[in-house]
Symmetry: C2
Subunit: 464 residues, 2 copies
């Protein structure tokens, strides 16, 4: 080796220079697969990292995915599967022999192995685990024994824990001499004789400390300790809140049983934000886009059925005023506007409230103030748009009375929207239900029913 | 120090044992503030970490926030302000003297200092920076010179870079002897004589390597290098994709100028997912919930105005058929159902497509396949709900003809919803516009107009 060795890579000018999965690459892989040239597929994928191969697999068609796995054979990095989810992961695992899955598990850390097995059916899982040596098998089974979405599922068992009386030098020597270290770690945990964590030392702190110093002297005592059954959403919140690189996980007796790292937490954080979005729009499946058309149709139909029921309810309210509409057809033309404005104003409030609940910007401590504010916002925008729409309607149908009635109905509906947009998620949260679930259906039912009833009701009272 | 020192903390049983900001604490702080006992406020906050104080500040009323800052005085940890955003951060900074802000900046790393100053008005920023010593001032000014939401804004300048011919031992000694290290770091960067990064060594790799080994021998060469002007959304994607703890940032000449760490990236990732959610619901301001009622009213009114315009457009379509409605009032009663089902089915598709574009599960490579699938899903659910609704309508109004017309209109509208729900975000993305912006308005305009037109049009053709 000479001094001038190691030249810098090309200066990346944009995202596309850094991220490998281009449309051209996808097309090239598809062509090589379709034309039966597996060695070309392997060549094309050789420079890619595991996560990029996963992205490539996701955008391929179902047949090409299986073709790719076949072409790669044993060259398929198990880490690639760790980056896959839901139906795509299930497809791939289904195409592999139990022995191949068992081999993959041996190469992975315990949390990654659990990810591969958690959605697999019982029989197949047993067939795989039967081919995994006992110690690894026990670690995976223990991981699977924790509830879904708990810290126990998220954590890896591989970690470094040392007693408080060790010196920095001893810890460094231990790391140099031991083969059994985790792939990545960011902190050394300090434990008492009963294996309970009493502190932790970030690697950078260890690095800048001289060898004779005791771990006890440099450890941070106020570590954020995670109980093994904590919900993953709460774990992710703590990571974000305290900018943690890793956190120790303890069992009921306070013993250190695992570690969660920032990348696990970041994935959960994004998943939860995405879940709020999906739930507010009535999408339940995580891998909805990649599921088959039939599966997607089925999973989305529940929400649509609920929506149909509420739409019929709103129609029943309209039907109460069929006589009024027969006499003034302008009401039929204008009524969707009242409902739509209420629905939109309410959705704005609802969305903000749901996210604020998740990030703890909205809590019991300030709920009353926020509800009050949203009602004021609904009222203010209600007045502005009521005046605007009142004028439009009055001139459109040359009937000032219609203008006044639609204006009044819009103000009422937008105040109700502000109220419902905050109270619905707060109520769901207090009842222990995810505030995003079904909140939109509740909200639009209220704004539709109130909108139609107040508008048509006022018209029946004052215009006939 | 004795061996039995350092006892484990209480075993945390739940989230509330770990996260300090309870409603009771908020109430106690409010009471102490209202009754003018600043020393009690300081006592209550003493055990809290900086990020928890930030959360507490967020849920307080505007007056209490300023009271709290006054009570804490110089005890307010600058890190607390780093965790605040938008209107709340602006309030706090506004209440502090330029000298106090300058003092805070000196205690922070460069990216954190930039966060404090980036939304401040020109004059005040100059007043603050005039009180910051030249080297720190230059670092902050350079940070501010990069475009908003770029890697340059996100990165910190503080990092450790060493030549490839250094040994592990030399690097460790350097860390032990230097005071000027970053607060936290996870990797040592290896640079060439022109300061261009040629590799990086994770601290855990350094820890397990013996002192005489050269950095060149253990460095990972295929580092993910970020250009200084890369968009923060792309940066965050790379962190998530490759599970990075930190990444080097380079300027146009490829020189190492800064480092971005996982916590910065995680914050962006969550922000972007949240932004998609907010934009789909027509909320533009990031700190919407905490803004004043007037400010919120104004920022939400743009969306509502756009929605009013499209609602009027839909009403104009209804108005084309006023004669038909006058003769069959059942049409007025049923027409919102057709529009609503199309809108909901379309929103489901749209939401999934917007997120999939952000996570690169939907790209040019598979767009055609996904659009096709969504049309099939729309058609399948369309048929199911058309039959259902056709029967309901037919029996409700004892008019089979109405049942057939509403069924046909629903099928058409739900296929259109599947098409629009995918093509709109794909089109916006291709045009370089955020696919979440205005997508919902486009979509519901289409499903409303098509729904009303097809339903009333078919009725006019076949039922009169």
């Amino acid at each position: 080796m000479t001094l001038d060795e190691g030249s810098p890579a090309e200066v990346p000018a944009s995202f596309d220079d850094v991220y490998a999965v281009s449309t051209e690459l996808v097309r090239a892989v598809e062509t090589a697969l379709d034309e039966g040239r597996p060695e070309e597929v392997r060549e094309l994928l050789a420079p890619l990292r595991a996560a990029d191969v996963a992205d490539l697999i996701v955008v391929l068609s179902r047949e090409d995915r299986l073709g790719l796995v076949g072409a790669l054979g044993d060259d398929l990095d198990p880490e690639t599967m760790v980056d896959l989810d839901g139906s795509v992961l299930a497809e791939l695992l289904g195409a592999m022999s139990p022995q191949a899955v068992a081999n993959a598990i041996l190469e992975l850390e315990s949390d990654e192995a659990v990810h591969l097995l958690e959605d697999m059916d019982e029989d197949r899982r047993e067939a795989v685990l039967g081919r995994v040596p006992p110690p690894d098998r026990a670690a995976v089974l223990e991981g699977l024994s924790f509830p879904e979405d708990s810290a126990g599922r998220l954590m890896q068992r591989e970690l470094i824990a040392v007693p408080a009386y060790w010196t920095v030098g001893q810890v460094i020597d231990y790391c140099r001499d031991t083969d059994e270290l985790p792939d990545e770690f960011y902190e050394i945990f300090v434990i008492d004789p009963r294996h309970r964590p009493i502190g932790q030392v970030a690697l950078n702190r260890l690095m800048r400390t001289r060898r004779p110093v005791l771990m006890r002297e440099i450890m941070a005592g106020e570590a954020t300790t995670v109980p093994v059954d904590m919900d993953q959403e709460e774990v992710a919140f703590l990571f974000q809140q305290y900018r943690l690189a890793s956190a120790p996980v303890v069992d009921d007796a306070g013993r250190l049983v695992g570690v969660i790292t920032f990348d696990d937490a970041a994935a959960v954080l994004e998943e939860e934000a995405e879940e709020d979005l999906m739930r507010l729009s009535g999408v339940s499946s995580e891998t909805d886009l990649l599921d088959s058309a039939l599966r997607t149709t089925r999973s989305r139909s529940t929400w649509l059925l609920l929506n149909l029921a509420t739409a019929i309810l709103a129609s029943a309210v309209i039907a109460m005023f069929d006589g009024t509409i027969e006499q003034i057809v302008a009401l039929a033309i204008l009524m969707p506007i009242v409902a739509s404005m209420g629905g939109n104003a309410g959705t704005q409030t609802l969305t903000v409230a749901v996210r604020a609940l998740a990030t703890r910007e909205l809590t019991a401590a300030n709920a009353l103030r926020i509800v009050g504010k949203e009602v004021v916002v609904g009222g203010l925008n209600g007045v502005v748009f009521a005046v605007l729409m009142g004028l439009v309607a009055g001139f459109w149908f040359s009937a000032p009375g219609i203008g006044v009635v639609i204006a009044a109905a819009m103000i009422v509906n937008m105040v109700v929207a502000g109220l419902a947009g905050t109270l619905i998620p707060l109520g769901l949260a207090r009842a222990g239900i995810d505030p995003a679930v079904a909140a939109t259906v509740f909200l639009t039912t209220i704004t539709d029913v109130v909108g139609f009833f107040v508008f048509l009701g006022l018209a029946a009272l004052f215009l006939l």
